[in-house]
Symmetry: C2
């Protein structure tokens, strides 16, 4: 399989974590979002959507990370990233959506560029924008984790799930946007735990071949 | 089951469609988002997340519509809303995420209120903001639908799936924000088809008891 992604893209990062946790081997091809390479015809010939991540298999081009993760889970069920019971699966998917729908999309590059270029928002206000949505989302997540997962290693139970694949890249992004993380001890605890695991370490943005050195 | 929602909330709307398609009976309780009722203690006692939709079952409180839809599919597999094969499921979930992650979250009320109140963006620019993200997302969707679904009744194949549950409320929102829909003939064709189906009609915002009359 070939994963088209970008070192700093949160959706690429979450896909790398899931593939690493499942022990899947893949080639990594970098699409430089900072130079809008995803919109160029060379990449659009591969994925007409012009989006990363995109995962090329022998006979499919997969896109949209929530769909890719579900496909990985169905196709490679060894090392499951969802619990077995429907209630647990609901919980993990809800935690994932809290990041994947309510935090990440609002702070991605095209939105920030629109704020800067179309609405003349200055850099200080752009940073406050990012901090606001990450803090709001993390506050909601922290409440849930404190209630249900305070004695667990990960977002749900004692092994990584989709929810950790979503959360860890969002923490990386939170640090980049200088979010105060002290109000989120449960999120920080899960972050510390995940940073000891090779699948997470190998997926980190700065450990990718296309990261600046 | 009891569905806590709001007539105009796109995520409530998509959940109503899915439940109607599956023939599930439920009580509808309105939480008035325009008056921030979702943040009041009366509702937070029911769902600490302060989010709609929330689906109360005998022993669970479900939240986050992407997780609710997957839970409905697993718990009530009759009248499936996902195809049987993994590739088809990936496609439907990807189309769903194109709406659920890349369009809907950017135009919801809290974001528009921030633009107005914190960034002093005027109403004309707020409208352009909404139109931009809906048009961008619909352009991507239309390309895919024209390529793969032009001879089909729905977003994927000849029966409704999750993708239609996501798309139809977004079209409703597009009309509300005066988006020019003429560049999207495949999306319009699917909209027309769905509007002939009782499950979709019954889920429409203006057919809810809390809609203004």
């Amino acid at each position: 399989m070939t994963l088209y992604g970008y070192f700093r893209s949160g959706t690429s990062h979450r896909t790398r974590i899931a593939m690493n946790l499942k022990g899947l081997d893949y080639d990594n091809i970098s699409v430089n979002l900072a130079q809008d390479e995803q919109l160029e015809s060379a990449f659009k010939a591969i994925n007409p959507q012009g989006l990363v991540p995109a995962l090329q298999t022998d006979d499919l081009m997969l896109f949209q990370s929530p769909a890719i993760l579900e496909w990985l889970e169905e196709t490679y069920p060894e090392t499951p990233l969802l619990p077995k019971d429907a209630a647990g699966r609901m919980k993990v998917r809800a935690l994932s959506a809290m990041v994947g729908c309510d935090i990440h999309p609002i702070n991605n590059r095209r939105i920030l560029q629109y704020l800067r270029n179309e609405l003349s928002v200055d850099e200080e206000q752009v940073l406050l924008w990012c901090q606001r949505w990450i803090s709001d989302g993390f506050t909601a997540l922290e409440t849930l984790l404190a209630k249900d997962s305070a004695r667990e290693d990960f977002c749900y139970g004692n092994r990584p799930t989709f929810a950790d694949c979503y959360l860890i890249p969002q923490i990386y992004s939170a640090r980049r946007f200088k979010v105060d993380l002290t109000p989120f001890p449960n999120i920080m605890r899960i972050d510390e735990r995940c940073r000891t695991i090779k699948a997470f370490i190998d997926a980190e943005p700065m450990n990718q071949p296309d990261a600046p050195h």
